[in-house]
Symmetry: C2
Subunit: 80 residues, 2 copies
Amino acid sequence: ETTDKTTPQDMTCKEFIDLNPKAMTPVAFWVVNKDNVYQQGDYVDWNEVETIFVPQVIKACKQKPESKLEELKQWFNEVK
Amino acid sequence: ETTDKTTPQDMTCKEFIDLNPKAMTPVAFWVVNKDNVYQQGDYVDWNEVETIFVPQVIKACKQKPESKLEELKQWFNEVK
């Protein structure tokens, strides 16, 4: 069994860019929605994450590869 | 901008096992929930995906690395 963390709390931008692209939308969905989905509040749907957020995360991460995805989360909330 | 697919429709088990472990729960969440979250039906929450489904996916994928994650999805629905 894998004992390492299987959620991206401390994933860095560099790790995100190095991901298998097929995992990018699910990881971005986690970053944006992991707190919202519970309250059935204004969670961001898969399509919006795939088409809007993933390209933005890639662009932001290329500029600051050492930053943490979680830091981008505040930035997303302003954009949303 | 990445033009390759950023969602795991055709991700194979081998690709899942080779993922950065931090992406496993989000990818498993996508496999299990991508159709459910819309209908606010019985979607599986993050914690259940992380603690129950990810270990099962890893075990199943080690037995059948060439199978597609989507094929496992039917199997999950029976387990759920």
